[in-house]
Amino acid sequence: MNNLMIRKSLLSLLGLVWASAASADRALNMPRGITELSAETYGLHMMVFWWCVAIGIVVFGVMIISLIKHRKSVGHEAATFSHSTTAEVVWTIIPCIILLIMAVPAAETMIRLEDSRNPDVSIVVTGYQWKWHYRYQDEDVEFYSSLAMPSVKARFKGSGVDPFSVENFLLEVDQPLVVPKGKKVRLLLTSNDVIHAWWVPELAIKKDAIPGIINEAWFTALETGTFRGQCAELCGKDHGYMPIVVEVVEEDAFQAWVSSRKDGGTRLAQVEN
C-alpha cells in the first residue's frame, strides 16, 4: 500500500496521471455508451464543453492580457471609462445566441428520451435498502440483485482484503439484469422504502426509484457486454453497496435465459436471498 502511494504521488507530481488515464481510456470523460441516446447525450456534453472552452479562452484571454499589460508595475496609467451601453448589449446578446444553439439539440434529445412507447421488454425495478429487485413483466421471472460475495467480504473496515485484489470491487452483483440486444427495454422504477436511483452510465439512464411512484426509463442496447452502475440517490448507510450490473446478450440467448429462469428460477432467487 505504501509503495502504491509513492508510485501515485510520483505519477501525479510528474503530471503523468493525465497521460496514463487518457491512454487507459477511462476515468477522464463521460462514456459514449451503447445506445443511440447515450451517444447523443455524449455529443451534447461535448458540444457544451467545447463552447465553454471557447468562451473560456476569450474571457480568460482578455483577462490575462489585461493582467500582464495593465499593471501599475509596468507603468500603465488607469483609464477612466466606466460604462458602455454598446458593450453591455453585445455581451448580453451573444450569449443568448450561443444558448439558443445549445438549447435546440438538447430539447430534441430530451423529447426522444421521454418517448418510452411500444417497448419490447418491460422490467419492474424496485429499490430496497440495499439491493435491487427485477421483475420481467409478461415473463414469470423475478429476482433480487445484491452486492456479490467477494466485494461483501472486502467491504468492511478491517476486513483484511485488499480491494485491488477483488475483481470489479463494489461493482459486481450476484445476479445481473439480463436484456436482449437491439430490443426496446422499458424500466418501470419504484421503491419499497426510501428513494433510490438506478444509474448505468453506459446506458445514459439515471432515474429515481420513489416509493408510491412508478417512473419510466428506456433503452435499446446496440452492443452486447456487461455494463455496470450504482445507486445514485443517498438511501442510507449501505447506499454505496447496491451496484447494478446489466448484461446485454443476443436475442436467442436472452430467450434461453428466460426459459431457464422460468422453471425454478424464481425459487432459486428466493433461496439465494
Binding site: 470523460n29 456534453h45 457544451v48 495593465h70 500603465h76 488607469a78 458593450a87 467491504r155 447506499h239
Partner: protein, 533 residues
C-alpha cells in the same frame, strides 16, 4: 488623520463598549456584532472543514480505513449544514454588519437589539445541531437535502435537526429584515439607490431572497416534523402523500439559497477589483440589473436539481431553458469585472489576488453549471462527483475566496494595522493550488461514473480520489496561514484612513481603526461624492 481619530474617540468616550464578556453578550453595536458573526463563522469553517477531512481521509483509498458508512453519511450531512448555515451565510452577515452602515453613512444597523438576538441564536442552533453527534443513532445522515422518507429514519437527532434549522432560519430572517430596513432608511442624504456601492446592492437583493425562502424552508422541515411525530402524510406515499413534493419545496428554497451564498460574494469582489485596478467599476448599473435578474431567475429554476425524479417533459424543458438563461446575467457580471480591469493600473495585494482567483475559478464553476443545465446531459451528471466538483467550485473558490478577499480588504480598517502581506499572499497561493487539486479531479470522477455520498468506491476511481484527498488536506492546512495572519493582525504598521491607494466609498473616510461609533451625523453630500471619485 491621527488627530481626527483622537477627536472622534474623545467625543464618544461615554459611549465606549462595556468591558469583558458583557460587551459581547449585550452588545448592540454593529461592529461588535459583525465581529461576533465573523469569528463564529471562522470557527464553524474549521469545524466543517475538519468533517470534510474525515470524508476525504476515508476516500483517500478504496476500502474502509477509518469510519463506518453510517458515520461517513453523518459527516457529509453535517459538513454541508455547518458550511452552508454556519460558515458561509453568517460570514456574509458579519461583513454586512460591519460594512453596510459604514458604506451608506449610517450610525448603526436600524434594529440593533434584534441584531444582537439574530446573532446569539446561532450558537444555540449549532449547539443543538452539534449535540446530535452524541445521540442514539448519531447525527443526521440523510444529506443536507433531508429527503424523505430517508430523513425520517434519523434517530434521536431528528427533532434537534428540525429545531436547529428553525433557529437558523429565524436568525437569517431577522438579519435580513435588519439589513433591508437599514439600507432603505438610513442612507446618507443624496445617496440614491443606484448610487449605492455594489456590496450594499447585492446584500439588499440577498436579504429579499432570504425573507422569501427561509419561511418556505421552515415550512418544509415542519411538515417533516409532523410526518414523523403527529401522523400526517405530507411526504409519505403510504398515507397518500408525495415524497417528491418535499424536493420541490426544498429546492424552491434551495436554489435561491445558493444565490444567497454567492450574490454578496459578487458584491465583495465588485468593491475590490476597482480599488486595485484604480478604475471605477465598469457598468455599475448593469451589474445591479444583472444581480436582480439572477435573483428573479433563482425562483423559477428549482427543479433543475430534480431532472431524474420523473417530471413531465414540458416541465423538464421549462426548467432547462430557465436555467440556461441564468448564464446571461452571470456572464454580464464576469464581463464587467474583466472590463473593470481592462486598461486599469493593477496591483496585486492579497484582496486583489483572492478576487482574481474568484473570477477565474467561479467562472469554471459557472461553466460546469451551464453543462449541468443541459437536461439530457444532467441525467448523467446528476448526483455524481461532477456535481460535487461544480458546487464546490462556486462555493470554495467562489464564496469562500470572496470572503477571504473581503476579510483582507477591510481588515486594516477594522484593526487599524496592516496585516502581514507576505503571509496573505502565501495563503492565497496555497489555497488556490490545493483547491484545484481537490476539486478539479472530481469532474473526472463524476463523468467516469462515481456517485456522490458514497463511503467507498471501485478501484478504477482510486487515482483521482487520492489526488482530491491530498488536495483537501493541503487546503485545510493552508487555512492555518489565515489564522496566523489574524493572530498577527495588529503587529504590522499602522494603517492610514484610506488604507489602499485608490479605494472608493464612505468607509474609507473614517479613521482606521474605525471608531466604535461612526457617522453619528450623516456625511454631507460633498464627503460622499469625494469618496466615490
Amino acid at each position: 488623520m491621527s488627530t481626527a481619530a483622537a477627536d472622534v474617540h474623545e467625543a464618544h468616550d461615554h459611549h465606549g463598549p462595556e468591558k469583558g464578556i458583557k460587551r459581547w453578550l449585550f452588545t448592540t453595536n454593529h461592529k461588535d456584532i459583525g465581529t461576533l458573526y465573523l469569528v463564529f463563522s471562522l470557527i464553524m469553517f474549521f469545524v466543517g472543514g475538519a468533517m470534510a477531512l474525515v470524508i476525504r481521509s476515508e476516500l483517500m483509498q478504496p476500502g474502509l480505513q477509518f469510519v463506518h458508512p453510517e458515520f461517513f453519511n453523518q459527516m457529509t450531512t453535517m459538513h454541508a449544514l455547518i458550511m452552508v448555515f454556519g460558515a458561509v451565510m453568517p460570514a456574509f452577515v458579519g461583513l454586512a454588519n460591519w460594512m453596510i452602515p459604514m458604506m451608506i453613512g449610517a450610525p448603526d444597523m436600524a434594529l440593533p437589539r434584534m441584531n444582537n438576538w439574530s446573532f446569539w441564536i446561532l450558537p444555540v442552533a449549532f449547539g443543538l445541531l452539534g449535540s446530535t453527534l452524541f445521540m442514539d443513532g448519531g447525527a443526521p445522515a440523510s444529506g443536507w437535502t433531508m429527503y424523505p422518507p430517508l430523513v425520517l429514519q434519523t434517530g434521536d437527532a431528528f427533532p434537534f435537526l428540525i429545531f436547529s434549522i428553525h433557529l437558523m432560519g429565524l436568525s437569517s430572517i431577522m438579519g435580513a429584515i435588519n439589513i433591508i430596513v437599514t439600507i432603505l432608511n438610513m442612507r446618507a442624504p443624496d445617496m440614491w439607490l443606484l448610487k449605492m456601492p455594489m456590496f450594499v446592492w447585492t446584500w439588499l437583493i440577498t436579504a429579499y431572497l432570504l425573507i422569501a425562502v427561509m419561511p418556505v424552508f421552515a415550512g418544509a422541515v415542519t411538515m417533516l416534523l409532523t410526518d414523523q411525530f403527529f401522523g400526517t402524510s405530507f411526504f409519505l406515499a403510504a398515507g397518500g402523500g408525495d415524497p417528491v413534493m418535499f424536493q420541490h419545496i426544498f429546492w424552491f428554497f434551495g436554489h435561491p439559497e445558493v444565490y444567497i451564498m454567492i450574490l454578496p460574494a459578487f458584491g465583495v469582489v465588485s468593491e475590490i477589483i476597482p480599488t486595485f485596478s484604480r478604475k471605477p467599476l465598469f457598468g455599475h448599473d448593469s451589474m445591479v440589473y444583472a444581480a436582480s435578474c439572477i435573483a428573479f431567475l433563482s425562483f423559477i429554476v428549482w427543479a433543475h436539481h430534480m431532472f431524474t425524479v420523473g417530471m413531465p417533459l414540458s416541465g423538464q424543458l421549462f426548467f432547462m431553458f430557465a436555467t440556461m438563461i441564468i448564464a446571461v446575467p452571470t456572464g454580464v457580471k464576469v464581463f464587467n469585472w474583466v472590463a473593470t480591469m481592462w486598461r486599469g493600473s493593477m496591483t496585486f495585494e492579497t484582496p486583489m489576488l483572492f478576487s482574481l482567483g474568484f473570477v477565474f475559478l467561479f467562472t469554471i464553476g459557472g461553466f460546469s453549471g451551464l453543462m449541468l443545465a443541459i437536461a439530457p446531459a444532467d441525467i448523467q451528471y446528476h448526483d455524481s462527483y461532477f456535481v460535487v466538483a461544480h458546487f464546490h467550485y462556486v462555493l470554495v473558490p467562489g464564496s469562500i475566496f470572496a470572503l477571504m478577499a473581503g476579510a483582507y480588504y477591510w481588515l486594516p480598517k477594522w484593526t487599524g494595522y496592516m496585516y502581514n502581506e507576505g503571509a496573505g499572499k502565501l495563503h492565497f497561493w496555497l489555497s488556490t493550488i490545493f483547491v484545484n487539486l481537490t476539486f478539479f479531479p472530481m469532474h473526472f470522477l463524476g463523468l467516469a461514473g462515481m456517485p456522490r455520498r458514497i463511503p467507498d468506491y471501485s478501484t478504477q476511481f482510486a487515482d483521482f480520489n487520492w489526488m482530491a484527498s491530498v488536495g483537501a488536506i493541503g487546503f485545510g492546512l493552508s487555512q492555518l496561514v489565515f489564522v496566523y495572519v489574524l493572530l498577527t493582525a495588529k503587529q504590522g504598521e499602522k494603517a492610514t484612513d484610506r488604507v489602499w491607494e485608490a479605494p472608493r466609498g464612505l468607509e474609507w473616510t473614517v479613521p482606521s481603526p474605525a471608531p466604535y461609533h461612526t457617522f453619528d451625523t450623516p456625511p454631507v453630500k460633498r464627503v460622499h461624492e469625494e469618496a466615490f471619485e
